[in-house]
Symmetry: C2
Subunit: 260 residues, 2 copies
């Protein structure tokens, strides 16, 4: 679109970083993203935001498990019978969970709270885009750390400051369809705080805070897709306040949560 000179018109670009090789355990993802971007004539710039899908993080961090190596506990066996799910998968769900939020035995649905505090189906364990029919991916152990390492690698290689958000796809209460959620955040404040700001009419805004990290990873979906397997989205042009980050800011204190 023309008129790139007018700086008062907010304008964002989102580009899929397509040329990443298959990710192995121990991969230096930051470096690989930089190389893949260069391979498509894009060099990262200060202020860019990288949205990285959980799956490649889990692969790079060895969080892929062969179900055949998992021995279910008694509790796992019991829940697997109740839900008619694979007992080894159910065992992993229990190991990855702080608590179980809802179980629908009839439909075999297990909604769990992970040790990080994410509430999602199967504690985020997933079989898609993982090679081998017995292989599943677990969520990264410390997704903020995963994001920070990518950011640091990019800074080291290019001398450029980016923000990195790790994304996974979860369902929601009340609404159909899944959307991307931020599960790790580094280099950007995940919450945009409007408390005390004035609206166009000069009234104080009632809306206090926007979960901008969740909106950024949702935007990334447009270039990532599920079936295409494009693992990284580059968002350029969104102005934000650099900050340490931390996904915990996005998690509601259970004591003030009306829905669990």
């Amino acid at each position: 679109m023309p008129d790139r000179r007018n700086i008062n018109i907010p304008r964002i670009e989102i580009v899929g970083i397509t040329a990443l090789p298959e990710i192995e355990n121990g991969a230096e993802l930051g470096l690989m993203i930089v190389m893949a971007a260069i391979g498509q004539d894009t060099s990262l710039e200060d202020g860019d935001i990288l949205v990285v899908t959980q799956k490649v993080i889990s692969k790079a961090e060895g969080r892929i498990v062969d179900l055949r190596t998992v021995t279910p506990s008694e509790r796992g066996l019991k829940l697997s019978i109740e839900t008619e799910r694979d007992p080894r998968l159910v065992e992993l769900i229990l190991r990855e969970s702080k608590s179980l939020i809802k179980i629908d035995s009839e439909r075999g649905i297990i909604i769990a709270e992970t040790h990080h505090g994410f509430i999602c189906a199967n504690a985020g364990i997933d079989q898609s885009n993982v090679a081998g029919e017995h292989m599943v991916s677990l969520l990264p152990k410390d997704p903020d750390g995963s994001a920070r390492r990518i950011r640091e690698e990019v800074a080291q290689v290019l001398g450029v400051r980016v923000a990195v958000i790790i994304s996974d796809t979860f369902g929601r209460a009340w609404r159909e369809g899944q959307v991307n959620f931020a599960i790790g955040v580094s280099g950007i404040d995940p919450i945009l705080d409007y408390r005390g700001s004035l609206d166009k009419q000069g009234s104080v805004l009632k809306t206090t805070s926007i979960a901008i990290a969740d909106e950024l990873v949702a935007a990334g979906e447009m270039v990532m897709g599920k079936a295409e397997g494009i693992p990284v989205a580059l968002i350029r042009g969104y102005r934000y306040q650099p900050s340490a980050g931390g996904v915990a800011y996005l998690l509601r204190d259970p004591a003030s949560d009306l829905f669990r």
Copy 2:
């Protein structure tokens, strides 16, 4: 970013449409959006997606209410005392609701299900960005219709087929911060159905459906902001299957909803 020739690299642009005048009851929004876009050297194209914030729709459709004209019912009075909220506002919340989902008397929070089926605080009634301290905006009566009318106006004026999604900002269960949700959809399928698709490894994807309309309006937030009052985002470059739309596809059947 360079390399615009490579069509295999997905690339999206999001632009804020900034130059809309203050919206009055009866405004022809589609026409006004076309004019505002032209005013910033952007002409709409086939396949563009317009994200339009609820507030301007409500203004154009006369869904602004002066609280001083509202007489609370007995039920409204009772709930207003329980929650320590303005009885006239509480009365409007009740009128706009099909059911009340949760009430937190201590914090004065009312989560309601609107007649459309949206679950949100205060049935979507809001005082920000509305002129006058007694004035509040209600959600549009038929947001799919609102979206369709804008789409038709754009087609009439420019001969161009766009999709239109009406957006509002709601809180979520379990997570802090609000995000944009689609409340009206025309010209695009709000759900992206991956059932039966294969992943990169050739396995059938377990993730069945993505609420792409919700992700598109979330992406719009980057150029709209809350305080700036930019009411329209133009998303270009996202390929989708044109369809009638309809927000009902995004609403989970209460019978299969685990969280109410």
